[in-house]
């Protein structure tokens, strides 16, 4: 993204939001401009009361005090100017400081820097093996060619699954490795406050999202920022889960914010008769053997029964020691992070032919998507209620793609099997009791676990055959249940405070039921529990 473009974008953004404010203020039910300023002032004052650590606190306090002073006295023209200033201030805050030069440097350095950092604690290993390459750790697969083609034919919104704060640097690197230009993305301020994350974030085209800011006007500016950026042809990255998924499941209820920006940008592109008006949504999944913050996330999930605490500021990803330990494991165990790129869809949820860029219906017939947004005279038109429904449909399509492009790894498969065995062993216990009391140290015979893993694998393989999910190439795709269990045990034995499962003699024990539940959850949504109920219930080896 060129800086000139960015300045133009900011000007465009400011005038758009200001005009919208003025327009709505003239409606019978509209909010007068001074009330709008006052409302924003109120929300910001409230935020500043709580948000005492904000580095810009003093400047913010001064600004809002001056707003307050001017508000009572000004004429209509003054209020408009004041509102313009507020919008401008929000826009400037959101705007990152992306520089193409920095991006190039960062992406060149990162493939070496990340593993080096991971390995920095062990000079001996460095000498033995040389500097490992990140490409060995992050495997990129799926519709990579389609993504590259789509990026030539229109503007991309890449929507990955979200389980970890590592997702941002991982996907950032993957974008670079696929030979794509930098993607713009909105990252929470909390990511910038972590020195390690900030190192990667700042330079990857991120703009800043301050989740503490609750003023509706701020959210409008934020959404419009994404819209304008898409219209300028900048590819965007957006985690539709909104926040890291706490339960370990594949996210199915999505936040549609940026996807609605995609549709808005598309209609604007049509109105401006852009040469390449199309916006393509490309879902992708990130698949880890182990998740950096798994312990905190599942704890939060169980405590709040899925109602996510918005921001966790003290999880594992803020502890340098934990990050180092985690990444060391990645290298030592040759664990891989799989980035699986899914099939492109349009902002209405139709699939897209990567060769032509045209949308297709379920029978492969070409769809003229312009018709979805035109009025009776054939002119493209924004209709917010209609567009919300379209976006909801696109969201459902993304959720389906997430399930379809999930890559099953050994840890999830083994955790799922063990969890389901234990759950059936204690039918009288509900989830919370089972998690608390665990299995009382009884364990499962290793041979039995292996046998049941094979049964689950067979059900998964049948689904993979039908294109409903993917098996990780290597140990899972191989189908050797004993090897799958061994791999899982090897990974689970490291990193987490308590090993998720361990083998003692000929039995396998779960030592952390919460984490077992967390890792097993990744395989929910495929109907495995019901299909394999009898198999998992019987603890007698066949």
């Amino acid at each position: 993204m060129q800086n000139t473009l960015r300045d133009a974008a900011i000007v465009e953004l400011r005038s758009r939001v200001l005009e919208a404010c003025i327009m709505q203020s003239r409606l019978p039910d509209g909010m007068p401009l001074d009330v709008l300023v006052n409302d924003t002032l109120y929300h910001e004052k409230k935020r500043l009361e709580i948000d005492r650590k904000s580095p810009t606190r003093d400047a913010d306090l001064a600004f809002w005090s001056s707003v307050k002073a001017k508000l009572g006295r000004g004429s209509g023209e003054d209020v408009r100017n004041l509102l313009g200033q507020i919008i401008g201030r929000f826009a400037d805050e959101i705007r990152g400081n992306f520089s193409p030069t920095l991006y190039n440097v960062a992406t060149r350095v990162m493939p070496k820097a990340l593993p080096m950092l991971l390995n920095a604690m062990s000079p001996r290993r460095l000498l033995q093996r040389g500097i490992p390459d990140i490409a060995d750790t992050i495997v990129i697969q799926g519709q990579v060619d389609a993504l590259r083609k789509m990026s030539q034919k229109g503007t991309i919104i890449l929507t990955p699954t979200h389980v970890s704060n590592l997702d941002s640097p991982v996907i950032g690197w993957a974008i670079y490795a696929m030979g794509l230009p930098a993607f713009t993305y909105g990252a929470g301020l909390n990511l910038f406050s972590n020195p390690m994350m900030a190192l990667f974030m700042r330079n990857l085209g991120a703009y800043r999202v301050d989740r503490m800011k609750t003023a509706p006007l701020y959210k409008d500016v934020l959404k419009e920022y994404a819209t304008v950026s898409l219209e300028m042809g900048n590819h965007n990255l957006f985690f539709p889960a909104g926040t890291r998924v706490r339960s370990g499941k594949i996210e199915q209820r999505l936040k549609l914010g940026l996807m609605s920006s995609g549709l808005k940008a598309y209609v604007n592109n049509l109105l401006h008769k852009k040469e390449q008006p199309n916006i393509y949504i490309v879902p992708c999944t990130l698949n880890y053997y182990l998740v950096l913050e798994a312990e905190t996330l599942i704890e939060d999930h169980l405590q709040r029964e899925g109602k996510s605490r918005y921001i966790i500021t003290d999880d594992e990803s803020y502890l340098m020691r934990k990050i180092l330990q985690f990444t060391q494991n990645l290298i030592n165990l040759e664990a891989r992070i799989t980035v699986h790129v899914g099939d492109p869809i349009d902002p209405f949820g139709n699939r897209v032919d990567p060769e032509t860029g045209a949308s297709l219906d379920r029978h492969g017939r070409e769809v003229d998507i312009v018709k979805y947004v035109t009025d009776r005279k054939g002119v493209p038109v924004h209709l917010p209620q209609r567009d919300r429904v379209y976006t909801a449909e696109a969201g459902e399509a993304v959720a389906r793609e997430f399930l379809r492009h999930n890559v099953v790894v050994a840890t999830q498969l083994t955790a799922f099997t063990l969890w389901e065995i234990l759950k059936r062993r204690h039918p009288e216990q509900d989830l919370y009791r089972l998690v608390r009391t665990g299995d009382e140290g009884f364990g499962v015979a290793a041979s039995l676990l292996t046998e049941k893993v094979l049964a689950v694998w067979q059900a998964l393989a049948a689904r993979a055959e039908r294109g409903e999910l993917h098996l990780e190439s290597g140990v899972v795709a191989g189908g050797d249940a004993a090897a799958i269990v061994r791999t899982a045990l090897r990974h689970f034995g490291t990193y987490h405070t308590h090993p998720v499962m361990v083998r003692k003699g000929d039995r396998v024990f779960c030592e952390d039921m919460k984490l077992l539940h967390y890792y097993s959850n990744r395989l929910r949504g495929y109907g495995l529990e019901k299909e394999l109920d009898q198999v998992l219930r019987s603890e007698v080896a066949a």
Binding site: R362, K371, R376, Q385, A392
Partner: protein, 362 residues
């Protein structure tokens, strides 16, 4: 494609024809698509559809065609009133001709049994269209043809669909209500046919008004449980598409499902009863689909199970009635058995006290 009060109706059965008629009465130009050339000629020349509506006169602004492409391209809004068994294949053919700006509205009440697919889902799956909705309500085709006043519900997630369809349907004899709960409206529209069969059987057995009221109320209770399990809004059960349609269908001997029930009460088998009518009783398919999916959804549907037994398992209506009447007594809303309430009370001590009291026999 001119758009001012122009509409296509697919399906020349009694309901499709009645819809075409009522919209023509309201001032719309209507193109009615049907497969049979003979009946196309009859509608265009004699303005009747004698196979389904005897000698009732159809408004002259209803023009019939057998050309699906012409029908699809004739109007922005297309209302589809094809029996559920053929709905998908017609929707697929339609998919060749429609574009994304068109509005498709299902007027068929029923499911595709295998996956409990609603008719609006079929339109969505088989065409590129998104602006999709459904109409449902107490709308007996024969009464609509007689220009008797009634009301209907247009349901869609899109304002636009509701507004455009309402503009076409509303007229001197038809009031239109909107609802965003497409799932609820469609599910109630389909499932009420099961209760209608039961009501027909009850009427055929001369069980009286009390039992009819019981059947309707408990029928509505189980339908709305099923609908809620599929994501419907509970309030829809109390609207025109729920209670309204149920009352009309169950009280009217004109309803095909109702008359099927009466024939069953006379001791006829499903095959015999169906052989006597050319109109399709959607309730048969729906009973099959609902019974199949009720257990998966964890919904108890005793009346539906009973009708399923009569239709497909050769049970006699009076046996099923006896079975229903001898069911354990239950709480009305929670379905908990009266003589086997939950043992756990507020606290540990209260639970112990309650258990002790029960053991002493109150």
């Amino acid at each position: 494609m001119s758009s001012d009060k122009v509409v296509t109706v697919l399906g020349g059965g009694s309901w499709g024809t009645a819809l075409a008629h009522v919209m023509a009465v309201s001032g719309a130009k209507v193109l009615l698509w049907m497969r049979s050339d003979d009946r196309v000629a009859e509608v265009n020349e004699q303005h009747t559809n004698s196979r389904y509506l005897k000698d009732k006169k159809i408004h002259p602004d209803v023009v019939a065609t057998a050309d699906l492409e012409r029908a699809a391209k004739f109007a922005e809004t297309i209302i589809v009133a094809i029996p559920s068994a053929n709905f998908r294949s017609v929707a697929y053919e339609l998919g060749d001709f429609v574009t994304g700006d068109q509005v498709l509205v299902s007027a068929t009440k029923g499911f595709e049994a295998e996956h409990l697919t609603r008719m609006s889902d079929l339109l969505r799956e088989e065409t590129c269209c998104r602006k999709i909705g459904a109409i449902s309500g107490p709308n007996l085709a024969d009464e609509v043809m007689e220009n008797m006043p009634t009301a209907t519900v247009v349901a869609s997630p899109y304002h636009e669909v509701i507004e455009k369809t309402a503009a076409l349907l509303a007229g001197p004899t038809m009031r239109v209500y909107g609802n965003h709960d497409l799932v609820g409206v469609e599910v109630h529209g389909a499932l009420k046919n099961i209760v209608a069969i039961a009501a027909g059987a009850a009427a055929g057995m001369n069980l009286g008004q009390n039992s009819m009221a019981m059947l309707l109320t408990r029928g509505l209770a189980e339908i709305s449980r099923f609908a809620e399990a599929l994501g419907a809004d509970r309030m829809t059960a109390l609207g025109l598409a729920g209670l309204g349609d149920l009352i009309a269908t169950c009280n009217s001997p004109l309803s095909r499902n109702n008359s099927l029930g009466r024939k069953l009460a006379e001791g006829k088998t499903l095959t015999q009863a169906q052989a006597e009518s050319i109109k399709v009783a959607e309730g048969v398919n729906t009973t099959f689909a609902a019974a199949k999916h009720a257990s998966r959804l964890g919904v108890d549907m005793p009346i539906t199970r009973g009708i399923h037994k009569v239709l497909f398992e050769n049970a006699k209506p009076h046996e099923v009635l006896a079975g229903l009447m001898s069911r354990a007594n239950r709480y009305e809303h929670t379905e908990v058995q009266i003589d086997a309430p939950s043992l756990v009370e507020g606290s540990v001590v209260e639970t112990a006290l309650a258990v002790a009291a029960r053991e002493r026999g109150w």
